[in-house]
């Protein structure tokens, strides 16, 4: 096991100088519940499964849903991958699989995207005092065998970090910490397992965070009103704005959550209200990142745990469907303005080479300059290839 780990360590060090200059980050827009990509990014006008929306042209060579006018103007930066084909159509399993590249396993807890990216890029962000993996308004998936130190740091969409204020001066806080560390370390010397040691690491990170000036990055309300307005007033818009601030501050991975896509009933009226909110926030994020010169180094990933059935059910809804669906990627140097892969006329089947969670993750790592040769060692000693050995989606980098 030692050899692969060593290889990976060396590879990170070899790239460190380069990455530092590039300052790469990723923002994942997580659509919890399983968004109906057949109504959003891969419409089937005329088919029995087509639903009630019409496709519109965009600034790229791709058509999308009429309810995404803002994104339509930004599609030259984005690639729609229309040939996602996965097998996990249960929320919990799908969430896990899409976040980790692995199917759930009773014996191994795999690290999620954010933990992997934070772990790999932390070396390039040595000045960073706030957590390297922040989730906004959502839960994501945990750090698995990488340990609690790489767990997502969850904040609400208005950037509020709870319980930061302390009413004692810093001298007294440090004196308290000294007394605490005494209990902490003596307990940890007693061979009682890893939980106590993980606790000790978290204490130090918490102390660093509490006293950091970088906390300012969370103050999303300090943005000029015009900027706030451009993202929209909803939670998702505010979350996207917060993501931009965090990326600017050097956070390698931010996940912004937008739930409510589990539309088993009355899907079209629901989407008519959800899509504009998503469109405005996502559109503003792309524009803002580009204007600040950050888009080239910030990968954006839009996805959920799966898509939804082409067939419209008896409640005018769509159910879970993993066999043929879409995700969207942009920024971070990937090629925009294109649709990758195709589904058949009614959207029930992928007609081109199918892509998986692993392939998507490998491609994101590639965009972030993380070596795909990286191998972790899980807690039970098994070697774990980064992105589960997925293949880079070539069209994104051609």
């Amino acid at each position: 096991m030692a050899l692969p780990a060593l290889t990976f360590g060396t590879s990170v060090r070899a790239h460190a100088a380069d990455l530092k200059r590039r300052n790469k980050s990723a923002i994942m827009l997580w659509m919890g519940g399983g968004p109906s990509t057949i109504d959003i990014w891969d419409l089937k006008p005329g088919a029995a499964t087509g639903g009630s929306f019409t496709p519109i042209s965009t600034s790229g060579d791709v058509q999308i849903c009429e309810h995404l006018p803002m994104m339509a103007q930004q599609m030259h930066h984005m690639a729609v991958i229309r040939s996602m084909s996965t097998r996990e159509a249960d929320h919990q399993r799908g969430r896990y699989y899409m976040h980790t590249g692995y199917v759930p396993d009773r014996n191994v807890q795999h690290p999620s995207y954010g933990s992997v990216v934070a772990h790999e890029l932390a070396g390039t962000q040595t000045e960073l005092e706030i957590p390297p993996f922040v989730t906004v308004g959502g839960g994501s998936v945990g750090p698995g065998f990488l340990g609690m130190a790489w767990a997502p740091f969850t904040v609400s969409s208005d950037g509020q970090v709870r319980n930061l204020d302390h009413d004692i001066d810093s001298d007294r806080l440090l004196q308290r910490m000294a007394a605490l560390n005494l209990i902490e370390s003596s307990f940890n010397r007693q061979n009682r397992g890893s939980a106590g040691k993980e606790h000790e690491k978290i204490l130090q990170k918490t102390l660093t965070l509490m006293t950091s000036e970088q906390l300012n990055a969370f103050q999303v309300r300090q943005e000029p009103q015009a900027v706030q307005d451009s993202y929209g007033t909803g939670g998702f818009g505010r979350g996207c704005l917060l993501a931009r601030r965090l990326v600017e501050a050097g956070v390698p991975f931010v996940e912004v959550d937008m739930g409510g896509w589990d539309n088993h009933a009355n899907i079209f009226p629901t989407l008519e209200t959800k899509l504009p909110e998503m469109d405005q926030a996502m559109g503003a994020l792309v524009v803002d990142l580009e204007q600040r010169g950050l888009l080239e180094d910030t990968a954006i990933i839009w996805m959920g745990e799966f898509g939804r059935t082409p067939r419209i059910n008896g409640n005018t809804g769509r159910d879970h469907w993993a066999r043929s669906w879409s995700v969207v990627v942009g920024g971070g140097g990937v090629k925009g303005g294109i649709a990758i892969g195709e589904t058949n006329l009614d959207g029930t089947r992928v007609e081109t080479e199918p892509y998986t969670s692993q392939d998507l993750m490998a491609s994101v790592c590639q965009a972030l300059g993380i070596s795909l040769q990286t191998v972790f060692t899980s807690n039970n000693g098994r070697p774990m290839k980064i992105a589960n050995g997925g293949k880079v989606i070539k069209e994104l980098f051609s």
Partner: protein, 582 residues
């Protein structure tokens, strides 16, 4: 009598004897101490041969069988178990696991003064059967089961069909009366009535299913099977399961049992606010032509429609009629669940995991041939014993808590270091597995440790305050199934709450008449005050270095004792040793 029982006997008696010596030796010469020590040592050697006779050890056959089976596992894997935990550690554990909070100093002292040979059995009996603890016992298990049945957030959502108070009222009454588990299962699965306390026809048990009937009761099907039978079936709703024996047909045959059930909303007049929900049974007309043979349809992946009637997981079919006058499908299901061998094994597995940190399977709610149990014979045995002892949860708890594996220290040795389920191994229970307190346990522990629980407020008010506090940790995943996670999981948000949160501010307050102020102004010496806090938080005395650190804080606070105690108490409550059940 097997070797393992002798091991238990020596272990459980070893440290209590030392404590007896310390208590009785105060006025005696070292020589007397030595003589008493020798006598006790001889006694203990003699007694190992008659382990089964000793009260509190192995007069309970189920405990002996647990010890034997677990010991066999150690033999098979060549593991040496850890030493038995200190009695005070064990005491803290039992309070946390049985009634959901750490012991007070008084409770700890009473335990330590009890006769060493009897104190463990006595404590378990007290916590389970003494009226003084009925409310706390019921509260703890109500909390645990509310989270199992409706989730941490169930009923907190806007316009929810679940009434959280109603669910908790049902559970509290059931646990306070120690209702048998089979009765609870039947009631929860077959409940009819109104979900809200105080309303006519109130039946809190309906809250388990009230919010799970939409989309053809798929959630009711999945969760009933998972919680009461320990089988995961939600994936088979759409396709045959790739890894276990579950087929799609089975899911829909189980689903058919729920099709006579409806959740009727009653609104506040003139508004869209739900006043209450009534769970009712009605004739199921079927999706075909006639209620006589009320069928339902499900779709295969290739688009073919298939038909399903109510059939239990073991293949037992009930009549196809959808008429209530012919059959009450949910009641039939409840009785099939209760008489199946899966049900007692599922609850044994769940309870074992609660006390030992890991179940016989991982996860506990995914049992079956595809997921071999770590100790299949023991699991089957305990399932049978649980059934033949009238499904008495308190009995089951007693067997587990008095067993050898539950008594072991969490300190590993060279020869059981590799018994670590986190490494993907099946648990062998050769040492106690560390785990973090649940948020509710922290809350109740702080309340009791700072004696804030003595401020009289109504039960309902207390629960509402706690529920509000707990909500800060819940994150919903935005799906229709209401799945959720918690940030009270050992990460930075939890640490921040413990550093600075309002609960902690109250616990470490210097207010006059408050907990710390009362200790500070008492007649205790400074050393005793420090010791008091360590015993209250960690159920142990401070080490020399820890007293030294406390003295430094006292100096830094320029002799302000209350302020120094604030610092010490803050350090104790923020430590791994406090938050981890060890």
């Amino acid at each position: 009598m097997s070797v393992v029982c002798e091991g238990v006997n020596v272990g459980t008696n070893g440290s209590p004897f030392n404590k007896t010596n310390q208590r009785t030796v105060v006025d005696r010469s070292p020589w007397a101490f030595f003589v008493i020590g020798i006598c006790l040592w001889l006694l203990s050697i003699q007694s190992t041969g008659q382990a089964a006779q000793r009260p509190g050890d192995h007069t309970i056959p189920q405990v002996a069988t647990i010890d034997q089976e677990i010991w066999q596992g150690w033999q098979d894997y060549k593991l040496t178990p850890s030493a038995v935990a200190k009695d005070s550690e064990w005491c803290r554990r039992v309070y946390l696991d049985l009634i959901g909070r750490i012991p007070t100093i008084d409770e700890l002292t009473i335990f330590e003064k009890d006769r060493p040979a009897d104190r463990k059995l006595n404590l378990v009996n007290t916590l389970l059967h003494n009226d003084k603890y009925t409310e706390e016992y019921a509260r703890n298990w109500t909390t645990i089961w509310t989270n199992v049945l409706i989730g941490r957030n169930g009923g907190n959502e806007n316009r929810s069909l679940t009434n959280r108070q109603g669910m908790q009222k049902y559970l509290r009454d059931s646990f306070a009366r120690n209702k048998s588990y089979d009765q609870m299962v039947v009631e929860l699965i077959s409940a009819e009535g109104v979900n809200t306390p105080g309303m006519k026809n109130f039946n809190g048990a309906v809250n388990f299913l009230a919010n799970k009937l939409t989309e053809n009761a798929t959630l009711a099907t999945a969760q009933t099977t998972e919680i009461f039978l320990g089988m995961q079936v939600q994936c088979t709703q759409c396709h045959n399961h790739p890894f276990n024996e579950w087929k799609q047909a089975k899911f829909w045959e189980m689903n058919a049992f729920f099709r006579q059930t409806v959740a009727l909303r009653r609104f506040e007049s003139g508004s869209r606010d739900i006043q209450f929900v009534e769970l009712a049974n009605q004739d199921f007309a079927g999706e075909g032509s006639q209620a006589q043979e009320a069928e339902l349809y499900y779709e295969l992946r290739n688009g073919l429609l298939k038909v399903a009637y109510p059939v239990f997981v073991d293949g037992t079919a009930i009549g196809p009629s959808g008429y209530l006058r012919d059959v009450n499908r949910r009641l039939e299901l409840a009785q099939l669940v209760v008489s199946s061998p899966y049900m007692p094994q599922a609850i044994v597995n769940r309870m074992w995991a609660h006390f030992l940190g890991y179940g016989f399977t991982k996860p506990v709610n995914d049992m079956g041939p595809h997921n071999t149990a770590s100790h299949p014979e023991l699991l089957a045995y305990l399932g049978k014993e649980f059934r033949s002892n009238s499904f008495d949860l308190k009995q089951l708890i007693q067997w587990i808590v008095l067993s050898k594996p539950y008594s072991l220290s969490s300190q590993m040795k060279r020869n059981n270091f590799r018994d670590d389920p986190e490494l993907g191994e099946q648990p062998k229970f050769s040492h106690f597995y560390l785990r973090q307190m649940r948020a509710e346990e922290l809350y109740e522990s702080l309340l009791v440790a700072t004696q804030a629980h003595k401020i009289q407020r109504s039960y309902q008010e207390q629960e509402e305050t706690k529920n509000r506090w707990l909500r800060q940790f819940i994150i919903a995943f935005g799906t229709d199934e209401g799945d959720e996670t918690t940030t009270f999981n050992g990460t930075i948000p939890q640490a921040l709450m413990l550093f600075n949160g309002d609960l902690m501010q109250r616990a470490t307050s210097a207010d006059e008449g408050g907990f710390l102020n009362t200790i500070a102004t008492s007649k205790l010496t400074n050393a005793q005050k420090i010791q008091y806090l360590y015993r209250a938080g960690l159920a142990r005395r401070p080490s020399g270095r820890e007293i030294g650190a406390a003295n430094q804080l006292l100096a830094a606070r320029l002799g302000n004792t209350t302020a120094a105690l604030q610092d010490v108490w803050w350090a104790i409550l923020n430590s791994n040793e406090f938050i981890l059940n060890h």
